[in-house]
Every structure is written in structure tokens, then in C-alpha cells.
């Protein structure tokens, strides 16, 4: 696989993937997105190993991370990113259904850049995802070594 994306979406639920891509599609950001379906795959992608062994060694401009994931959960992915010199600068946004205080606290302890609870209301969801995508993938200047913006 030789995919490059400015946004790495880590999400196990296919409908959430679909809805997130739909939301990002409204800002033409959908094809900037690489989707991985569990924590292990996310780490494979970030370390460019396994199925992603052949991809260019650039970091995504932002990582949208669900917390409840198969194999390796979101907090563990976040912990590994923050403890690795090559990955620690990647902006990470937790995008989750959980409003639980312990999840929020744990995420911030591990150095998350933002914590967004997926709204039940689709309008709000679209807005939230759109704003996240626009801010992190378009407005924000990513750290050096990130995937460059496509023209």
C-alpha cells in the first residue's frame, strides 16, 4: 500500500467511518483521509511497517483517534505515539462517544491535543468533524516531516 494522507482516521465502526468521510467530504477532505480499523493497524501505519511497510515515511498532519478499539485501544496508541520521538509531535484528536471523566483525564494526561465527544445530532457531528478536519488538516501548520498538502 502506498497511501499518503494528511488525516489518519482510527475508527473501528464502519458507519462512523462512513459518516466521518461524508462529513469531511463536504469540505473535499475525504480523499485526504487514510482509514485504519484498529489500534494495531494504526501503529503499523505510523511506524510504516507490516502492510504499510512500503509507504513514504511521513507523518499524518492529524490523527483522529477513537478510544474503544479492537486489539490495541486508543489510549495505548496515544501513549506509544507520545513516547516515540519520531511520532510525538503528531497532533492527536480523540474523537469518541465517551463523555466519561476518566477517559478525558487519561487522554489529557497522555498529551492529547483535543478531545471531542461525537454528538448524537448529525448536524453537530458534521460540524464538529468538518471543523476538526479544516483546522488540523488545512489551517494548522503541521510539524516538519508531515505529509504535504495536495494541490
Amino acid at each position: 500500500m502506498n497511501v499518503l494522507g494528511r488525516i489518519l482516521l482510527v475508527e473501528d465502526d464502519s458507519k462512523d467511518v462512513d459518516l466521518t468521510l461524508t462529513a469531511l467530504g463536504e469540505y473535499n477532505l475525504a480523499n485526504e483521509v487514510v482509514v485504519v480499523r484498529d489500534g494495531a493497524e494504526a501503529l503499523d501505519y505510523l511506524y510504516a511497517r507490516g502492510a504499510y511497510g512500503s509507504r513514504a515515511k511521513e507523518n499524518p498532519a492529524v490523527l483522529l483517534l477513537d478510544l474503544k478499539l479492537p486489539k490495541v485501544d486508543g489510549l495505548e496508541v496515544l501513549r506509544q505515539i507520545r513516547s516515540d520521538d519520531r511520532l510525538k509531535l503528531i497532533p492527536v484528536v480523540v474523537l469518541t462517544s465517551s463523555r466519561e471523566e476518566r477517559d478525558i483525564v487519561a487522554s489529557y494526561r497522555l498529551g492529547v491535543n483535543a478531545y471531542v465527544v461525537k454528538p448524537v445530532d448529525f448536524h453537530q457531528f458534521v460540524n464538529a468533524v468538518k471543523e476538526l478536519g479544516v483546522f488540523w488538516a488545512v489551517i494548522n501548520e503541521p510539524p516538519p516531516g508531515s505529509v504535504a498538502r495536495r494541490n
Binding site: D16, K118, V120, H123
Partner: protein, 487 residues
């Protein structure tokens, strides 16, 4: 000299006088040689009853009398040479008799003193023994062969056997004693240290087992040889039974606590998974319904568009229900942070927060000054917000609403805050349902809401150690009150 001290001398003279009289009388009737034995008797009697001084007096007086009256030449103190032996024998005899009498007297005195001592001692011991009888503790003595030699009334009361039945029996067999350790071990300890303490089980005369806290002391004779064991026992059967009960209750309690903890954990896991997993599919339903509404509304007929709208509305409502339920369960799980909270300040905040809902309404607020209480600020704010929110909601149909918030201080023990409105009220028949989870007294089409607000109020107030109650009249307004303990 006192009369008492002179008495032996008087007795000496009297004895000599009597002996002299009798000897003279005997001589007159022709009885020969009785004077010596008579004087010896007089000496013996005097010394028997008298003092050493009186003894000397009686011997000298006796010699003089015998010499004067019965030794020729008569009626002089002179005597013939041949009689010197008689006199000497008489003196020696007198002294021997006197010595015997004195010795006898001394021995008798000693014996009497010994007997007196013995009597005193017996009296003391008897008193002591009756004192031992007074205690309710079991006290008995067994000798080194474990044969019971003393048995007090306490022992009789506790074990049922009388002293007559118990004394002479071997204790372990008679009482069917169960020792906590091998008997040899007990013996060894007793001989080494002189004491032993422990718990024993014995069987009383009625066949019931009795648990005793037992203390043993070794008794040694003057040469240090052990000769008996003093055992005192306390009946702790009842204590033991209670201890056992307490232990069983504690075990039960521990089990309950574990179960509670487990169910708490389960509840937490449930809440967590509700927060995560229940919300996701719901979000999807809402999202796809909305997408459908957006992309297909032109091809859908009026009815189908209504279906989609209902779908959306229901999904949103369920989202609110889940959020409310989670908020409710969180009250039970989150720890309260108690500070001094100014209810007046809290009330101002709540009234400010509620402004969007009261915009355009004609509401006459009547607000009393509220004091400060100890409690969790954010939780108490939820209480005020929910009660006042309800008052605003249920006066919605009134052209002119009146909402009154006040407090009363009952006997300084607790503080009562009430929120009164002139809204639709409720039937007191259903007052007990008001504070249940998801209990509603009105159609949700008339008054929106999930029916959890008052349940949350009750839970928060209960966690603060207070109470909630409500009074209402159908179409005549309602008063909701809660009390908080003043600490």
C-alpha cells in the same frame, strides 16, 4: 504488787495450811507418816497453779512445817542428824514434783495455745472458704493426681455438681474436660512456671458443654513440692456464642460488601458501556435519518417525510434519555466534594442559566434570601436548577406565572428550601411516583422532559443526608421542598 500476782503466794500458804491441818488431824487419829505425801501434794498443787516464786515459798514453808511439827525434836526447827536424809529427800522430792508440775503446766499451756491457734486458723480458713463460696467464679482444687479436694459454690452453680458429688472424683473424667493442648504440655508448663491459662470445655451435670476461661495455679508446700492445683474458671459459653454470632455476621457483611462492590463495578461498567456503545448506533440512526432527509426529501411523499422526521426525533430523545440516565448514575458514583455553599449565590446563577427558557414569559419571581449550607456545590446547583426548571416548565400554560423560592429553618437542625409555583400541579395520589426514575405525571407531548429530573434531585438530597417531598393540587400549583441537615 497486784493482787493477781500475790494470788499464787496466797495459794501456797493456803495449801501449806491445809496440808498442815490434815497432817495434824491424821496424827491425832493415829495415822503415821502421811504428812510428807500431803505436803508434797500441797507443793505440787501450788506449783501447778502458781509461779516459780510461789513454788520456792511452798517448798521452804513445807520443809519448815515438816521440821517443826513432825521431826523430833518436835516444835523446834532443830532436827536430828538422822533426819537430815528425810529432810533432803523431802526437799528433792518437792523440787522434782514441782519441776514436773511446772513442766506439765508449761506443756499444757503450749498445747492450749496451739489449740487456740488452731481454732483461730480454722475460723479464718472457714471464713476464707465461705468467701470463695460467695464468688460466682468456679473455684476448685485438685491434687497432683487430679482428684478434686475443694469445690466452691460457683463451681456448683456453673457445673451443676455439688461439693459432695465432686470432691474425691478425678476432675478430667468427672467433668469430661476437653483441653486445647495435650495434657502433658499443660502439666509441663504448670510445673515450670506455676501457672497456666487457656480455654477448656467441660460438661455439666445436665450434659451441656460449657466453655470456660480457665486459670490454673500450682500450690507448693513449705519444701517447694507441688501438692495441689487451684483452678478458677469463668463461664464464657455465652460470650463464645456471641463472638461466633458476631463473626458470622461480619462474614456476612464482608460477603455483602464484596457483592455490593461487584455490583457497583458492574454498574460502572454498564454506565461506561452505555456511554460508549449505546450512543454509537443511536448516532448512526440519527445521522442516516438526517442524511435521508437531506438527500431524498424531494422524492419522498409527505407521509414518508413525517416518518423520517419522527425517526430523527425519537433518536434524539433517546440520546437525551441516555445522557440523563448517565447523569443520574454518575451522582451515585461520583464522590461529593463538601464545601460551604452559598445557596443565595447558587440561586442567582441558576436564575441566570434559566433565562433563555423564561424569555417572553410573564413570571413574577418571589425570592427570599437563602443561607449557606455545607454540601457539594455542583450537585446542589443541579437540585435548584431542576426544581426551578420544573416550576418554569409546569407554569408554561399560565398567562401569569408565580414562582416563589424560600426557606425555613426548623429547630436549627435542618434547613428546608421550597420552590412553589402556580402551575398545573399534580394529584397527591401520585405524589410517591414523582421522585422515581422515568416517572412522569404528564404527557411528554404536553411537557417535554425525560422524567429523571426529580429522581436526580432526590438522589442528590439523599446523598446530603436530607429529604425531598412535594405538595400539589391538580391545576392549583405545586410546592417542592428539600431539607438539608445543618452540620
Amino acid at each position: 504488787m497486784s493482787a493477781r500476782a500475790l494470788r499464787p503466794y496466797g495459794l501456797a500458804l493456803l495449801a501449806i495450811a491445809v496440808a498442815l491441818g490434815l497432817s495434824l488431824a491424821a496424827e491425832r487419829v493415829g495415822l503415821e507418816d502421811v504428812e510428807i505425801p500431803l505436803f508434797l501434794v500441797a507443793i505440787a498443787v501450788t506449783i501447778w497453779h502458781g509461779a516459780p516464786g510461789a513454788g520456792a515459798v511452798v517448798v521452804v514453808a513445807g520443809v519448815l512445817c515438816v521440821d517443826y511439827f513432825f521431826t523430833p525434836p518436835l516444835y523446834t526447827f532443830a532436827f536430828e542428824h538422822k533426819d537430815i536424809v528425810h529432810i533432803g529427800v523431802f526437799v528433792v522430792f518437792g523440787l522434782v514434783v514441782g519441776w514436773f508440775a511446772a513442766w506439765h503446766r508449761r506443756t499444757e499451756g503450749e498445747l492450749r495455745r496451739a489449740a487456740d491457734q488452731l481454732r483461730d486458723e480454722v475460723a479464718i480458713r472457714t471464713r476464707q472458704a465461705s468467701l470463695l463460696d460467695l464468688t460466682h467464679d468456679t473455684i476448685f482444687v485438685h491434687d497432683m493426681n487430679d482428684v478434686i479436694t475443694y469445690w466452691n459454690r460457683g463451681a456448683e452453680e456453673v457445673l451443676g455438681w455439688t461439693a459432695a458429688q465432686a470432691v474425691g472424683k478425678r476432675a478430667p473424667e468427672f467433668l469430661r474436660t476437653v483441653f486445647p493442648c495435650p495434657v502433658e504440655e499443660l502439666r509441663a508448663k504448670l510445673l515450670r512456671t506455676g501457672r497456666w491459662e487457656g480455654e477448656l470445655t467441660k460438661t455439666g451435670s445436665d450434659g451441656k458443654q460449657i466453655v470456660l476461661s480457665s486459670r490454673w495455679a500450682l500450690l507448693r508446700d513449705s519444701e517447694g513440692q507441688p501438692f495441689a492445683i487451684l483452678e478458677s474458671d469463668n463461664d464464657i459459653t455465652e460470650n463464645k456464642r456471641r463472638e461466633e454470632q458476631i463473626r458470622a455476621l461480619n462474614a456476612q457483611l464482608e460477603q455483602r460488601t464484596l457483592e455490593l462492590e461487584a455490583s457497583n463495578k458492574e454498574l460502572e461498567a454498564f454506565a461506561y458501556s452505555a456511554s460508549h456503545d449505546l450512543r454509537a448506533p443511536l448516532r448512526h440512526v440519527a445521522a442516516y435519518a438526517e442524511l435521508l432527509q437531506k438527500t431524498a426529501s424531494s422524492v419522498l411523499d409527505e407521509r414518508s417525510r413525517r416518518y423520517v422526521a419522527n425517526l430523527l426525533e425519537s433518536a434524539k430523545k433517546m440520546g437525551t434519555l441516555i445522557d440523563d440516565l448517565l447523569a443520574f448514575s454518575r451522582i451515585g458514583r461520583v464522590e461529593t466534594r463538601v464545601t460551604l455553599v452559598s445557596l443565595g449565590e447558587l440561586l442567582r446563577e441558576v436564575l441566570r442559566d434559566i433565562e433563555p427558557e423564561t424569555a417572553g414569559r410573564d413570571i413574577a419571581w418571589k425570592v427570599e434570601t437563602l443561607p449557606s449550607v455545607h454540601g457539594d456545590r455542583s450537585m446542589l446547583k443541579v437540585v435548584l436548577f431542576n426544581l426551578i426548571g420544573n416550576a418554569v416548565k409546569f407554569t408554561g400554560s399560565r398567562s401569569h406565572a408565580e414562582i416563589e423560592i424560600g426557606c425555613s429553618d426548623s429547630a436549627g437542625k435542618e434547613l428546608t428550601v421550597y420552590v412553589r409555583d402556580n402551575g398545573v400541579g399534580f394529584d397527591m395520589k401520585y405524589a410517591n411516583k414523582l421522585f422515581g426514575v422515568f416517572q412522569r405525571l404528564h404527557l411528554s407531548d404536553d411537557f417535554e422532559g425525560t422524567g429523571i429530573g426529580l429522581a436526580i434531585v432526590q438522589r442528590i438530597v439523599a446523598r446530603h443526608g436530607g429529604r425531598v417531598w412535594a405538595q400539589g393540587i391538580v391545576d392549583g400549583g405545586a410546592t417542592f421542598s428539600f431539607s438539608l441537615p445543618k452540620t
